[in-house]
């Protein structure tokens, strides 16, 4: 059954699995049913059952992965659209993003080390709060395992989306701007989609948070990590 590892069949399977996972999430409205996670589980199950190698899968998969970099460049458009908002609130935004970014890197590194994680794993966790392509690029730069980062980023997104509003209620973070910003900063696109559920204003500031934290994390992670060594 050579056809089972046909590149175009595997690409079609990936599109279909993702489309159905998206439909499943729309129907159920459950943030746990993340389309990336569900379609990856479906494809992994397929590869295991049919004994098709990950190398065969990646012959098609790399054409999908190729679009990650242009997609990050495309984030320049929402960034540009929010420039006037950013300018008006420049100082509070920069200060809170800076604090959130550095606190995130330090806390994840310290807790992971305390619980006995290896150096390679610690490096893979440092950029866990930001959107996957940026986090994976940062992990590559600091010598972690990009795929592990991708997995952790998805876990963080699910966790942040599920608990974010409860945490903010308990800690008296009440202003819409602070709430949106915090969700986007801590839980990237998945936190942003959760914020978008509440209102566009929350969503706008969440996407601002994910953008600024993405840049800060890319710029600062190597430096913060070297200070922690």
């Amino acid at each position: 059954m050579e056809y089972l590892s046909n590149t175009y069949f595997l690409l079609a399977l990936t599109f279909a699995a993702y489309a159905l996972s998206q439909l499943l999430q729309w129907r159920t409205q459950l943030s746990v049913l993340n389309p990336i996670l569900i379609s990856a589980i479906v494809i992994i199950a397929y590869l295991k059952l049919t004994n098709v190698s990950i190398e065969s899968y990646n012959e098609g998969g790399r054409y999908i992965e190729f679009w990650l970099k242009p997609a990050i460049v495309a984030l320049g458009v929402p960034l540009y659209k929010q420039l006037s908002t950013i300018r008006k609130q420049l100082l509070p935004l920069i200060i809170s993003e800076l604090a959130g970014c550095v606190a995130g890197i330090i806390s994840v590194v310290l807790v992971a080390r305390l619980l006995g994680a290896t150096q390679e794993v610690v490096m893979s966790l440092a950029a866990k709060s930001v959107t996957t392509p940026i986090a994976m690029e940062v992990t590559k730069a600091v010598g972690g395992i990009p795929s592990l980062t991708a997995a952790v980023v998805i876990c963080v997104g699910i966790f942040g989306g599920m608990t974010g509003f409860k945490v903010m209620k308990m800690t008296r973070i009440g202003s819409p701007i602070a709430q949106g910003l915090s969700l986007g900063t801590a839980a990237h696109a998945m936190g942003t989609s959760r914020a978008m559920d509440v209102s566009d204003k929350y969503g706008a500031f969440a996407s601002l948070g994910l953008t600024i934290n993405g840049i800060f994390t890319a710029l600062l992670t190597p430096t913060v990590l070297s200070l922690l060594d």
Partner: protein, 112 residues
């Protein structure tokens, strides 16, 4: 669509050039993003010249990292071996980021 691709890949290529010239420890894609925002701001690029392609890419962001998530099967052993530090550290740190960002923002707005 060809012009839109030319602009986005052009920004990415410029990002690659900056990395190659300076050896900066920053992904070329992020530098490309900043270049695109800058070009839009100085009106060297008009919004309608990139918006369609950019929206398509941003809206389908999730799909592009499915293969990366599939590659996860290669790392199941590492995750299982160290699931406690990985999951606990990520959860604790996510709460820390939410609280620190929110508190500092509310505090900073009182002063500025």
């Amino acid at each position: 669509m060809v012009i839109q691709c030319a602009i986005i890949f052009g920004c990415l290529a410029l990002g690659e050039l900056v990395v190659w010239l300076t050896g900066i420890k920053l992904p070329s894609s992020i530098i490309g993003m900043l270049i695109l925002a800058l070009l839009l701001q100085v009106k060297a690029v008009k919004l309608r010249q990139v918006e369609g392609m950019a929206n398509f890419l941003v809206k389908n962001f999730g799909f592009f990292f499915v293969p990366a998530a599939v590659s996860l099967m290669l790392y199941l052993d590492i995750i299982c071996a160290q699931w406690l530090p990985i999951l606990v550290a990520s959860a604790v740190s996510t709460v820390v980021v939410i609280v620190v960002t929110g508190w500092i923002h509310q505090l900073a707005r009182k002063f500025f």
